[in-house]
Amino acid sequence: MHLDLDQNLVRKARELAKAVTDDVQKFINLRSTDSVERTVTRLYGIDGVDTDGIPLPNVVVHDVKSHDGLKRGITYWIANACVAKSMSPQEIAESVGRKEFSLVEIRPQKESIVAEKIDELTEESIRKLEKIKNERDSMLETLGNPNQPYIYVIVATGNIYEDVIQAKAAVSEGADIIAVIRSTAQSLLDFVPFGVTTEGYGGTYATQANFKIMREALDEMASKVGRYIRLTNYASGLCMPEISAMAALEGLDMLLNDSMYGILFRNINMMRTFVDQYTSRFICAFSHITINTGEDNYIKTSDPIDRAHTVTASQLINEQFALKAGMKPEYMGIGHAFEIDPDVENGLLYEIAHALLTRELFPNATPKYMPPTRYMTGNIFKGYAQNTLYNLVSIMTGQSIHLLGMLTEAIHTPLVQDRYLAISNAKYVFNNAKALGKDIEFKKDGFIQKEASRVLENAISLLEHVKEVGLMASIEESVFGDISRKMDEGKGADGVFVKDEDYYNPIFDKMETMVRGDGL
């Protein structure tokens, strides 16, 4: 089945989205953030905490920033200190943590030797990332990709060890992707917590140690069940690029990563988010991590039919930002959701039109489809029926990443049997309706064709407006999710700075060059 979309309109929509993001990219290219610099330190091997429990990447970046040295980038300062003290970056960071010295007070070393040190550290880090990526790719090839839609479930116990138990059970029931939900409000922390954690609210802290534990558990299960199991976490919030780097180091497969989510739904400063998403995305591109965009959120706060075009417009913007970061379409999990009020007449037809529009607008991407949440009421039996329809739309319209709905949505984090019931429902529907999409033709000028065209046309009008006033001004006008955010407000604004002429960040320069060569 397919939609009779006017391909000229599709092209036009893409061109508009490109123009919109081109403007923002100019701002991005001139700037860096505290989080971007902390990411550099992590890639050079800095990890751990000082005696006050502050992560060493924060300690080092704060040290340089408080002496007004950050505008030339953190790299020079680390390499200069390594040469002067004959220490590794980690040893340097530990010394700064013990307040033995400040990086900017160290006498500048001979330029050519510092440059050599930088090359050496950069080379080592890139080699390490490449090795991890290659290992993932070869494991995926050996075990094989599961059929799409991939069955994606969430674990959210707050304790990484309980998460492992539930994740293993889910994999043996048929899950292809495990997402470890983060502790509530972690996205607003301007640092990444350190070490293994067993106490979290509504989820488990995203830490590198927790990533490692779950990765090992899933690899063990993957060998047992004979199919590749993907691991997902969250790179949104104030530490987008750092989380991406940690995910790259621990071999994660997917990250929730949206170019505007933090701005709209977490009230994070616009410029901070735009700069951070760019860095986090070329790290994902480099390490073959699939991003999942967050358009489902718009229609949780605004009407899923009236505002369907805001989803489409945002998807196109997310795609353009991802392309700018060198991502290949196959690593773009373009987001959308099944959120229409179940009391709406022909709601299913609207859902099919919207889901198919996403599929057809992004034929080479891996769309991420998300289940009903807004109208899940506590009537678990009705909720189970809603999830059945959702599963049907997903298999019919050929979605790629399928987040399973839980019958206890809005009641509690999933019980072990909730996940089992959800997986059985999805497997039943996917198998029973496997070729349905291939066998259906929608009536020309029928409900579904018209609805899809309506949404696309409205998305174009919206993008035309956004292009005219600029993306940042449109966000101020509450174009997306009916939420308004001001340009100079929001959390993390003080962590954004304009790079000096002598700003130097060779590891990111190299990664960007490599993904461009490899990607487009």
């Binding site: 707050g158 059970a169 029931e173 509530t184 609210y201 739904f265 807004r374 506590g378 809005a410 049997q417």
Partner: protein, 249 residues
């Protein structure tokens, strides 16, 4: 109601009066098999059930077994002795509320709403406050009588109190949806403490809503009212109108 029902001995109704049938489902962390079935049966029996029918025993992986069971309870309750603790509401229409407020208060009622602390979920708050409301029942923004400030999610209690003072709020409406390990209780208590410290507690009508909130709990925590699952915006509107007018008179 069924005629001649013994209200002193109320039991679940499945297929016949007083049959006491209940459906249960749960998971045991043991491998599926005869032993697991027996464990499930014994567990249910120990809870005072008889005629236990285990209709599903399913291996759900990693040595977890899921059961669906029908059984008859030997317990009952005396319906005639039950007293509940609910918010008393006299239903009023939008126009009636607008008229009453403009006639007796002669200004708009200022309402400030937010989800506090770590709760990022605004669905409940928005259903009550937003113009659109919930299932055809308009939200408080639709009422001319109300001036609504929806502060959104994850507002620190201190910030909420500051805004309430700034806007001269008559009503503070807090929504708490997600909870784990009772964290919502602490957040709700913090708000009351801050209002007390700021000497604002008596000046505002303090309301909390959410799926796990009861009026009883709300009052215990120092709130004027608590609204649980199934609350419609018009319920909250009528309650606010009634209380604000009583206070002002």
């Amino acid at each position: 109601m069924i005629p001649n029902l013994d209200l002193k001995n109320i039991k679940p109704y499945g297929d016949q009066t007083n049959d006491g049938v209940i459906q249960l489902s749960f998971t045991l962390p043991i491998p599926a098999g005869a032993k697991a079935r027996e464990a499930a049966r014994m567990l249910v029996e120990s809870m005072g059930f008889s005629d236990i029918q285990i209709v599903l025993t399913e291996d759900i992986g990693e040595d977890f077994t899921f059961f669906v069971i029908y059984a008859k309870t030997n317990k009952y309750v005396d319906y005639t002795s039950i007293k509940t603790f609910e918010v008393e509401i006299t239903k009023m229409g939008i126009e009636e509320i607008n008229d009453k407020i403009s006639k007796y208060l002669k200004r708009q009622v200022v309402i400030v709403g937010a989800t506090i602390g770590s709760d990022a979920h605004t669905i409940g708050l928005d259903s009550i406050l937003n113009m659109k409301g919930y299932h055809g029942d308009s939200g408080l923004e639709r009422y001319k009588a109300f001036k609504v400030y929806n502060l959104g999610s994850q507002v620190p209690p201190l910030e909420l109190v500051r805004k309430a003072r700034e806007y001269k709020a008559d009503v503070i409406l807090v929504s708490q949806i997600v909870t784990q390990r009772e964290i919502h209780i602490k957040q709700l208590t913090d708000l009351v403490d801050i209002l007390d410290a700021e000497k604002l507690r008596d000046k505002v009508l303090l309301i909390v809503g959410g799926p796990r909130i009861t009026h009883e709990l709300a009052v215990e925590l120092g709130y004027d009212a608590g609204f649980g699952a199934g609350t419609m915006p018009s319920d909250v509107a009528a309650y606010i109108t009634d209380r604000i007018l009583k206070r002002s008179s």
